[in-house]
Amino acid sequence: MTLIDLANPTRFLALTARVLPWLAAATIILLTIGLYQSASAPDDYQQGATVKIMFIHVPNAWLSMFVWGVMSIASLGTLVWRHPLADVAAKAAAPIGAAFTFLALLTGSLWGRPMWGTYWEWDARLTSVLILFLMYLGLMALWRAVDDPSRAARAAAVLTLVGAINLPIIKFSVDWWNTLHQPASVMRMGGSALDKSFLIPLLVMAVAFTLLFVTLHLAAMRNEILRRRVRSLQMTQASQKAA
């Protein structure tokens, strides 16, 4: 199976129809295992049971960046290789990425509540994720603002790539801004390596969430392809003369 095989939307639809149930099943199994392991992981001696938020928070945070990476590759696909499904992939990924980023923020702030005493602290990491969230929303707004998907695709691809280049700069600036104002962050995972009893469930959860993303992404791409077909059918219908 190569990218060329996938270039044909019809074949893509046929293939994903076969793959999706398996992917969904694998996601559910892995998520169940991960959640069970997370629940049975020991409490932290400092943070108590709240540490378990980590098992949800970290995979979401990981995916918030991973999805932007996927969109950047898809954007290259749009601009450089002109792969016909690239902009479908980029468009379908944006809302999912935004959702993961939002969950990362939400769990982060719920985690922060017992640690900091407030739901929100302008902590360098959380702030960077917040900016990432805003960029996702902006990208979604761009997709919606332009009617014609192929025209929106190029603009969104450029914005995604600029974002990918800018993200490290933003991260660096936020870190610098943050240390300028508050010398030490309240919460640190610490230099010490994570205990095995935490690490394994965390890895399982990370893989499970990644699978979840792949499943959702493929399903969203199918929807997008079908939506575009409906649109072009409607346009054909509009141009037909009434009997």
Binding site: D147, Q234, A238, S239, Q240, A242, A243
Partner: protein
Amino acid sequence: MSGPNKGEMRLSGQGLRCVRGGREVFAGLDFAAGSGETVAVVGRNGSGKTSLLRLIAGLLVPAGGTIALEGGDAELTLPEQCHYLGHRDALKPALSVAENLTFWADFLGGERFDAAESLAKVGLDHAIHLPAGFLSAGQRRRLSLARLLTVRRPVWLLDEPTNALDVAGQDMFGGLMREHLAAGGMIVAATHAPLGIESRELRIGGVV
């Protein structure tokens, strides 16, 4: 002055003068149209054809002269009894064909109507639920025409109405205009192309 017969209406303008941007477009213009009559306004570009229509529609204020509709609804002003079909179609691309038509019917206070029937008359019944943004220029014009059929008003002010319409569309439109005139309506149309119906010519701005 003899008033119009019972049931007859008469739209007339006397000594109209129009000034736009400090320039006199036309002056001393008279016109009249009774029930079932059409005035075709002709003249070169910039002679003030559109301005005349907009004067009648109340969208411009005349620098002189008067416009009156005799025999109309006494409770309504002249613009409220006019349909103005300008260059622009007053359609929202994001709304469906039916939503566009229903909005104007509700806003302009039309009778209870069947959107499918009005749209069938202008040949758009296949596109009722499609977004208006998918329509071609000619189809958008047809959708605007459906507005004229849905909300009944005695005076139609048409600015280059057959622009963008194909031959079949022009035939269809000719039929609609004849129906309107037969019902006692009046038409004032600015046009370069022949309208396809019997009309009185009003030449403004000298020789073409």
